[in-house]
Structure formats: structure tokens, C-alpha cells
């Protein structure tokens, strides 16, 4: 019998880092990713023949060369549906397979948070992350007049990348006042400062306005364009643009995989803790080494405390302080008709109709929050905050109930076609 594969979900820095270390230690590895190529969000690869945009291409090139020299199996354009209590995982898409992995490594990357705003469901309003994916894949700046708005350093990065590709954004609308904290900023690691200085120099040269303590309060469709109302400390402004990229920070992303006694599960990189690219690679490698050791010798799976992780954690905490602002006041001020749950169309009024501090079951069954195909991964944070006694408190990890598979919808035709190497037979098969 061949040795069972370790299933690594996510072919970004953490996932490929872990796969490399596992394969080097002699573990059979299968890496699955929804995307058609390895790279993840940070090192999203361009279409064949297009120029790479990624700022640290050499880091990725080294890693992927290492991976290609090792016996690693890949399953691209393939979704991971989850791991059940028997230790069976389901892959669907280009690869359809029920399998029993020797271990599961989750390297899903972070989740981008976007706070609901009036008009945020209109076509041409996307996440800033989606604009960046488009830019990296196409090797071109998204076309037309683009406004970037929200909170966090990603807005500056996307704006600079667009500028370098010849289409600077119309403006950046930042909720916080990041430039009001020079001391915090100077305490960031040099690599952060260098990268930020590069972006800022690009934006200043191109005269991209950066409005701070400013907020997009409404987006309206006007013909084929978008009219964006912005509140700034100096009064309201209106921008007419073609596209809007929203972004309110990134979050960890390990919900939906329940603990499983049958198979070790290890979450690595940004999906476990948002610490950025350097930490993701370090976390992936360290996790891969520790897991390989545990699988080979049965030694406890202890990850070596890494100086990289400690340094990046401190840097992320500083960044959080630099970009701090009162998002909750904005949430409370939204008109009642604002959609909170995009999947099921649930509005703030629908949420309020459930009364004060509704129970999870009421949120789900009566409000239908968390009942759509994203299973509350997008709205959970905002539903929890908007319905909490104290909206200032951090929302619970699973505000809309316990984690459940599928992590992504499973096409029934794919499920039926899935091969199984699990040998499980709890029910009679058809016609037997």
C-alpha cells in the first residue's frame, strides 16, 4: 500500500513552503488550489507572456524552483470542500476526489474584510484585493477612473502598483489617519518602511490625492459610471468614477474546518494569523518540518518559535495602531436598507427586526444571515457587531454558529463523479 498523501490546501507562500519541507522529508504531498497556477494572493502569477508585478518575485522564483525539483502532486482549479469527522477530505473541480490524507495543512491565505456601505453591491464595486488580482494576472492596471477606499496599507500598495502601470487611481479614501503617527511608523521594520516609502514616492510623484479620516458614505450608479459621496474633515466631496475598490483590512481565515480526531490538521500562514508574506513563508516551512517529523517519528508537532513570526507580529500590531479608527460608528450610521448579507440580501433593517441581541438560531433561521453560499464568512463579522450589546467588542470567532463544511459550494455533478479511495460504506450504494 502506498503511503497516504498530506493534503496541502493553498498554493501560496505558506502552502508551497510547507509542501517543500514535507516532500524533502519524504512525505507524499498533494497541493490543491482554486487558482490555475501556484502563487496565492501575494505572488499571483501573470498570464503567460505577461510581465510579473509582484515586488518580491525572486523570493517566489526560488521557492517554486525548489518545489519543482521535489516530487509534489498538484491539483489546480480544485476546491477543497472540507474534512469530515471520519478523516475524509473532498476535492472538487478539475480534480474530483474523496481522499483520506495523512494530514491536512490549511494554507488558505487571509480573508479580505469589507465593511458594508451604501451602494457596495453595485457592479464595478469590488474589493481592492480583486483589483490587485486583476492587475497581477493581466500585468495591466485596471482601466478607467478608479477610486480606492477603506482602511489599511493595501490601499497604498494597490494605488502605487496601478500608478506604475500607467493608471493612477483618482484618489485614496482612508478612514484612519495613518500619517498622524510618525513615531509608530518609524518603529516599523526597515523592510516595511522601505516598501511604504517606495509606494508613497510613486503616489506623490503622480499627485494621487490621499484623503485621510475620510469615508465613502454612498455609491450610486449614474449611467455606466459610479457617483461616490465621500465625507472628509474638510466637508463632503463627490467623485465620478468607473470602478471602486473597497478594503477594510484582512482577517485570518481558518473557519469551516472542524477538529478531526482521525487526521492532524495544521493551519499555517495568513489563514491562521495575519502576519504577511515573510511570516507566511516562515510559518509554512516551520509547519512543514514539524509535521513531517510528527508523521515520521510520532514526535509531538511543535513548531519552532521563529524570530520572523515574533518580529512580524510586533510589526502587524504597530500597523493596526497606525490604521486604527472607529469603524463601528460608521456601521451604526448606515441607512436601514443597506445590504449586510450579500448572499441572501439581508439588510440592516432585517437584522434590527430580530430584536436586541438575537440568538444565533434566530439570526440564521429568521434573518437568514449566514445561510447563503458563503456561509456567513463575509457578513458574520458585521452581523455580530451590528447586533451585539457592545459593538466595540471584537466579534466571536464564529458569530453565526459553528464551523461547517463545505468551505466552498460543491457542484453536485462533481461530487457524484468524485473517485473514492476511502473504502467507506455507511450506506447501501444505488442498486445493490
Amino acid at each position: 500500500m502506498t503511503k497516504a498523501q498530506v493534503l496541502v490546501v493553498g498554493a501560496g507562500l505558506a502552502g508551497v513552503g510547507a509542501a517543500v519541507e514535507l516532500a524533502r522529508a519524504g512525505q507524499p504531498v498533494l497541493v490543491a488550489d482554486r487558482a490555475p497556477r501556484a502563487g496565492g494572493a501575494i505572488h499571483r502569477q501573470p498570464l503567460p507572456g505577461r510581465a510579473a508585478i509582484s515586488s518580491h518575485a525572486a523570493r517566489w522564483d526560488r521557492l517554486i524552483a525548489e518545489a519543482q525539483a521535489l516530487p509534489i502532486d498538484w491539483a489546480f482549479e480544485t476546491k477543497f470542500a472540507g474534512l469530515d469527522h471520519t478523516g475524509t477530505a473532498l476535492l472538487s473541480g478539475a480534480t474530483n476526489r474523496l481522499m483520506r490524507p495523512a494530514a491536512l495543512v490549511l494554507a488558505l491565505g487571509a480573508r479580505e474584510a469589507v465593511r458594508p456601505r451604501t451602494g457596495w453591491t453595485l457592479p464595478n464595486v469590488t474589493t481592492a484585493g480583486a483589483l490587485q488580482i486583476e492587475l497581477k494576472t493581466q500585468g495591466l492596471a485596471p482601466q478607467g477612473r478608479v477610486l480606492l477606499a477603506g482602511n489599511g496599507p493595501l490601499l497604498i500598495a494597490v494605488a502605487a502598483q496601478m500608478t506604475r502601470l500607467g493608471n493612477p487611481p483618482v484618489a485614496i479614501v482612508e478612514s484612519a489617519a495613518p500619517f498622524a503617527h510618525p513615531l509608530h511608523s518609524l518603529a516599523l521594520p526597515l523592510s516595511y518602511l522601505r516598501e511604504a516609502a517606495g509606494y508613497m514616492a510613486t503616489l506623490i510623484r503622480a499627485r494621487v490625492p490621499i484623503l485621510t479620516r475620510a469615508e465613502v458614505v454612498a455609491i450610486r450608479a449614474e449611467g455606466t459610471a459610479l457617483s461616490v459621496r465621500v465625507e472628509t474633515p474638510k466637508g463632503p466631496r463627490v467623485f465620478t468614477v468607473d470602478r471602486v475598490g473597497l478594503h477594510d483590512g484582512i482577517r485570518k481565515n481558518d473557519g469551516g474546518v472542524t477538529a478531526c480526531a482521525a487526521v492532524p490538521v495544521l493551519a499555517l500562514g495568513d489563514c491562521a494569523e495575519v502576519l504577511g508574506a515573510r511570516a507566511a513563508l516562515a510559518s509554512g516551512r516551520a509547519g512543514g518540518i514539524a509535521l513531517a517529523r510528527a508523521l515520521t517519528n510520532g514526535t509531538p508537532r511543535e513548531t519552532v518559535p521563529s524570530t520572523t513570526l515574533v518580529r512580524e507580529r510586533a510589526a502587524q500590531q504597530r500597523l493596526a495602531r497606525i490604521y486604527a479608527h472607529d469603524a463601528m460608528a460608521r456601521l451604526a450610521d448606515l441607512p436601514g436598507g443597506t445590504v449586510i448579507c450579500r448572499c441572501e440580501g439581508g439588510t440592516l433593517d432585517d437584522l434590527r427586526a430580530l430584536g436586541p441581541t438575537p440568538r444565533v438560531r434566530e439570526l440564521r433561521l429568521l434573518g437568514r444571515f449566514g445561510m447563503g453560499p458563503c456561509q456567513g464568512r463575509s457578513c458574520g463579522e458585521w452581523v455580530a457587531r451590528a447586533s451585539a450589546d457592545d459593538p466595540g467588542l471584537p466579534p466571536p470567532d464564529t458569530p453565526l454558529g459553528r464551523a461547517r463544511w463545505p468551505l466552498a459550494p460543491i457542484a453536485i455533478a462533481d461530487l457524484i463523479a468524485a473517485t473514492s479511495d476511502t473504502g467507506a460504506a455507511p450506506l447501501p450504494s444505488e442498486g445493490t
Partner: protein, 385 residues
């Protein structure tokens, strides 16, 4: 400890049985508090498929009570609390192979004996319902049954403002005195003349002598699509057999395909002896979905977006428990419906409310209700001792 309120009756458990009982009690003019550890429809009632079906009930007392409850549910839906909760729809039972065919014949005989509340409308093959897959050898259509999601029924009953709702509040204990019953909620106490415990799977925390066991059923929900293509639930004959047959001995996967008003499908289901709502597995999903898509091929173009297990409260002898708790004159049990509670809730709520008001049961039902009395287990224990 705060003493918090006196009521004529306190109902424990805000599932569909508890909510119906509370509603019937306030109609009779009693003051009622409804207590739940979580909130409304937090357990089986919120995870149910919502079939108001006589066809799926075991012959005997359950099928007869279900028939009475179906007729009464129609009344409550005409101008009562279930007005927006219950919708009539056809029921389809399908099967392939001799074992499922025999189960369908037995079903038809059972319905014949129960009168005309539920009637066999057509008996044929796949061509009887456009959209059905060719693998279906036998298909029957029943009329008279309907659909009522448990949480919608609960919400309907709870709309009566006279019901005092207390949750989340876990009951620590009951103390029965000559004057009444004290319900201990930890930090506070409630007083009542009568208590009705409709606790479902939690029954044994207060009544450990009752043989109530959790029985889970895996359920899968698809994404939305155009609603109305399938006018009623498609239930495999194997699912009817699953009520009395071990899972591994079934002739085929026990599939139920339930079209929801949202245009989604709810696909079930198994019967497994555990209480973990998160215990769902891909092998079962694949087997159920393979048969489901053969039966209703439009499912091939859908996606599964949610998976969970509904946990039913089952009883060792397969019958619910309804009646005064052994040794008590003030505490009535109404539990152990094993997924049949949605259908039975209307009549059980009415009859339990009558018991709590010291009224005789509806004469036509008294014999079948007597078969559900909790004393049947104390008699067994005494006999064994």
C-alpha cells in the same frame, strides 16, 4: 436567588411542541412562561425538513394522531397561528426494486385504513411527474399533506404576546410541592401550578429515567434556483423503511428531496445514534446525492452549500412520551417525537394543554394518547425488578 414570577403554567423547551403547548395554554386563559436554554427552535425543530406527513408515520397510534394533527393544522393555518406557516402540497413516494415496491404497497394499505385525510392520487412510474429520472420504477402521488418548516411554526405560535418568553435560561432543577412547582434557573426561580417539559433531546438532563436518545440525520442544502419545479417532497420508500430498519440493511440510500420556498433543495437523510450536529460525512453525502440526482436530475446542476445533522429525540420503543411524569401530579412530559414533532405539534400542543388544565383528552384520541404515557417505562422497570 431572585424569585421571578408566578405562572399558571411554565413550558420548558421552545421547540415546536413547547411553542404549540404554550400557545394553546394562553388561549385557555392561563398565564404562561416559555423557557429555553437557547432560544426558539434551537434544536430539532430548527433543523427539520418540515414535512407535515402522515405517510411517513409508523402505523398505529402515531399514524392516527398524525392524521388528526394534519386536519387540525389545516384549521390553524386557515385563520390561526399557522396562517403563514403551513402550505398544502403533494407528497411523492418513489422506489425501485422489490423491497421498496413492497414498502409502497404497505403505505397505500396504511393510508386506506386511516380514512381520507391523505389520499392516493396517482400510482405509476417516473412519467407521472415531469422531471423525474428514468431510474424511478414506481412513483405514487399523495394529496392532503403539506409543508411547515419548524422554525416558522414556532414563530407563528410565539407571535401571541401573552406568552412570556424566557431565554437563554437553563433549567437546573424542578421542585414539586403541594403548592406547585418551582423551576430553578440558577440565578432565579419561577413558580407555577403546572410544568410541561417539551425538552426533546435534553429530556434526560431533568428526567434521567426516560429512555430518550439522540438520533441524528444528515441534511444537505443546495443553492437557490427557480422555485416551483418540484411541487412537493420526493421521498424514497427506503426512507420509510429506515424508521424500522437498520441503516446498513436498507435496500437503497434513504433519500428525501424536499423543495424549499427559497428555490433551494433540502436533501436527507440518515438515522444515526449520536447527538453531534456537526457529524456529517462526504461518503454519505455522495451516496445520498447520487441517488437524489438520479431521481431528480435537475439536481446535477446544483451545488451543495450547507451540511449539518438534525438531532431528533428518539425513544427506545419508537413512540413519543406524552403524559404526567412518573410520580408527579404537576409535571407533564411531551417529548421523543423523533422528527415527527412538526406534524404532531398541533394536536399534541392542544391535548397537553388540556391535560395541564385537568381536562379530559379529546375522546377520539384518548386511546392513542394513553399509549404514549410515560408510565409505560416505570411499569417495565417494576416488572423487571
Amino acid at each position: 436567588m431572585d424569585d421571578l414570577g408566578r405562572y399558571d403554567a411554565i413550558v420548558l423547551g421552545a421547540g415546536v411542541i413547547g411553542a404549540s403547548t404554550a400557545w394553546h395554554l394562553v388561549q385557555a386563559g392561563l398565564s404562561v412562561a416559555l423557557v429555553d436554554a437557547e432560544g426558539p427552535a434551537a434544536a430539532a425543530s430548527g433543523a427539520s425538513d418540515g414535512a407535515v406527513s402522515v405517510a411517513s408515520k409508523k402505523p398505529g397510534p402515531l399514524a392516527r394522531l398524525a392524521t388528526a394533527s394534519l386536519l387540525y393544522t389545516r384549521n390553524l393555518a386557515a385563520d390561526g397561528p399557522l396562517m403563514h406557516g403551513y402550505h398544502p402540497r403533494p407528497t411523492y413516494i418513489f422506489g425501485s426494486g422489490p423491497a421498496e415496491g413492497a414498502a409502497i404497497d404497505a403505505l397505500i394499505a396504511k393510508l386506506d385504513a386511516l380514512g381520507d385525510a391523505v389520499r392516493l392520487r396517482r400510482d405509476g412510474a417516473a412519467d407521472l411527474l415531469p422531471g423525474t429520472g428514468a431510474s424511478v420504477e414506481r412513483l405514487v402521488e399523495l394529496t392532503g399533506e403539506g409543508h411547515m418548516p419548524g422554525y416558522v411554526a414556532v414563530a407563528g405560535y410565539l407571535r401571541d404576546p401573552r406568552i412570556v418568553k424566557i431565554w437563554p435560561a437553563r433549567v437546573r432543577g424542578l421542585e414539586e410541592t403541594d403548592a406547585g412547582v418551582i423551576v430553578d434557573l440558577g440565578t432565579r426561580r419561577l413558580h407555577a401550578s403546572r410544568v410541561i417539559a417539551a425538552l426533546g433531546v435534553s429530556t434526560t438532563t431533568l428526567f434521567p429515567q426516560m429512555p430518550v436518545i439522540p438520533r441524528a440525520g444528515q441534511l444537505f442544502v443546495t443553492d437557490r434556483g427557480a422555485p416551483g419545479a418540484l411541487p412537493g417532497a420526493l421521498t424514497s420508500a427506503a426512507y420509510l423503511l429506515a424508521k424500522t430498519t437498520d441503516m446498513t440493511a436498507l435496500p437503497r440510500p434513504p433519500v428525501v428531496i424536499d423543495p424549499l420556498s427559497t428555490g433551494q433543495y433540502l436533501i436527507g437523510s440518515t438515522r444515526e445514534d449520536h447527538a453531534d450536529p456537526g457529524r456529517v460525512d462526504f461518503a454519505t453525502l455522495q451516496k445520498l446525492m447520487t441517488r437524489a440526482a438520479e431521481t431528480w436530475p435537475a439536481l446535477r446542476n446544483r451545488r451543495v452549500i450547507r451540511a449539518f445533522a438534525g438531532v431528533r429525540a428518539a425513544v427506545s420503543d419508537g413512540l413519543p412520551i406524552v403524559g404526567l411524569a412518573p410520580g408527579s401530579t404537576r409535571v407533564t412530559l411531551a417529548t421523543g417525537f423523533e422528527g415527527d414533532g412538526i406534524c404532531l405539534s398541533a394536536v399534541i400542543g392542544r391535548e397537553v394543554a388540556r391535560m395541564a388544565a385537568d381536562e379530559a383528552p379529546t375522546p377520539a384520541l384518548s386511546g392513542d394518547l394513553a399509549a404514549l404515557a410515560p408510565t409505560r417505562f416505570t411499569a417495565l422497570q417494576e416488572g423487571a425488578a
